[in-house]
Symmetry: C2
């Protein structure tokens, strides 16, 4: 098939698709589009385009901009970055739990004082609640296995997640908000939808343990930022580790920057180099499935956005 | 037996030993001393004291101060903090490899630019060389298992380390310095002795891969700090993660603070709360072994200092 890649072609992806017999060219006349930009970069689709292969897992940006047209089919990159995001998420968990002094340590440090600090160690019987436990969550559960954590998985269906000791459907968190209070780490990996917007708000933060950490590697707006700032200031929870924020990027002088119990990384649990290495194989498989008249491996519902 | 605990008694340890039938009291008349201070706090030992139970794994401070008397027996806390230090070490590895933007991110961040960054991911076929692979190293190997790393263990004897793909005696690093160049992560967990002082110097840093990270959770003087500053400035290696430094604490305005490719935590992979929770059981076991006329579980050679 003929395909286009926008906003700029990635050589790894173009070569991978060409090696599978597809032909790279302009958008006009292309049968499918591989896209790795934001809503502002998204083109008017010519009638030749039958499906769009996205480079990201989250389609929320396009959905909010009203660009998820039902006239074409959509495939995302769900699951493709399970290894990288799970590893980055574990890094955020360990960073938030252990490195409380990191952001202030550029000044004097008092050995006697820092040694007294009560760090939170994963190996000491911790309960980890993973909200949005899909492919990344399953991989994170594998990485947590040697620590012996108790894992509570939360997903849409409530269908049992391998490796988790308990699994609940996300609706259960509203019926039984005390569930939030069982976790030493609340890890957000959910997609952003109308249902998950502000999932963690002031009421949820009140339910959490004072010793608990909130980790967000999903999407910034899963968390009500103002409520989080208040909870961190009041030490209502022990800390947060955020790879995504709302707004993003976080503006200079945003109050989150001033909080010693908040670890922030700039949306780097996944990176473009990882995408470039991982996307070609999926794009080739999806193109073959499309040509065979089948559902693509990561085909999405443009109405739901996932 | 009668025992003293200095510089201050820790209730958890006193209660643990009392529950095993021992009697807490002043140093004069005590048969053993439990000690958790520095060389400057170490008392003149009365003749009643037959052995000293240290709260730390490293005796280098007392050894350098000439305080490791051969007139009494010594036990350290080797292996007791394997869980905590291994977990903290993994945190440093992930932090150094992923969080390159952390220390500068308090200012503006450019999404397009940060997403281009080539992070180093453990899951992508990384080789980890653990220098000083004892109890902490074995535990770290367990934590690394789900990432599928190739582990090169280095210890005194060269005796095979479970879970490592290769094990070498430390002398091999001098005979074959190119070994350093095989590692994506060089992790230092060795005790500080005359042999290991400045183990990582300018020559070793030159052997390392430009993409490699140096992680030090052992003792600060294992690394020639000036050589490390030069290597990090010149981007001769990708970065460093340091829980220990030389000097320690690191003075304000030390050049290491200014380096974006250096992650520093203030000697917190182990903490006093962890020691207080972990030491009582070991102290009780060692006291029983001593009374039975046996070698204590963590008995040390006061000449070697480990």
């Amino acid at each position: 098939m003929r395909f286009a890649m926008l906003p700029t072609p990635w050589p790894e992806v173009v070569q991978g698709l060409e090696a599978a017999g597809h032909e790279h060219g302009p958008l006009d006349g292309a049968e499918f589009l591989v896209f790795h930009g934001g809503a502002e970069d998204f083109p008017e689709l010519p009638a030749s385009v039958k499906y769009v292969q996205m480079a990201f897992a989250g389609l929320d940006g396009l959905r909010e901009a009203g660009l998820l047209s039902g006239d074409v089919r959509w495939a995302n990159a769900a699951g493709l970055y399970a290894d990288s995001v799970a590893e980055g998420t574990l890094g955020l968990m360990l960073g938030a739990a252990h490195m409380y002094k990191l952001v202030t340590a550029r000044a004097s440090w008092d050995v006697a004082e820092t040694m007294q600090h009560e760090s939170s160690f994963l190996y000491e019987d911790k309960t980890v609640m993973i909200v949005g436990a899909g492919g990344i969550g399953r991989r994170l559960i594998e990485l947590l296995d040697p620590f012996g954590c108790h894992v509570i998985a939360v997903n849409r269906s409530g269908r049992e997640v391998p490796g988790a000791q308990e699994t609940y459907p996300i609706a259960r968190l509203q019926e039984e908000p005390a569930l939030w209070g069982r976790a030493d780490f609340v890890v957000l990996l959910a997609p952003l939808t109308e249902e998950t917007h502000d999932l963690v708000n002031a009421e949820v933060l009140e339910q959490m343990k004072p010793s608990a950490f909130l980790i967000n590697a999903g999407r910034g707006p899963l968390v009500d930022t103002d409520a989080l700032v208040s909870a961190l200031r009041a030490k209502q929870i022990a800390g947060a580790g955020l790879d995504v924020t709302d707004p993003e990027p976080l503006p200079d002088n945003h109050p989150l920057w001033e909080l010693d119990n908040c670890l922030i990384t700039p949306h780097t649990t996944n990176t473009v180099p990882i995408m470039r290495r991982s996307l070609p194989a999926l794009a080739v498989r999806n193109a073959a499935l499309y040509e065979a008249g089948e559902r693509m491996e990561t085909e999405c519902d443009p109405v739901a956005g996932y």
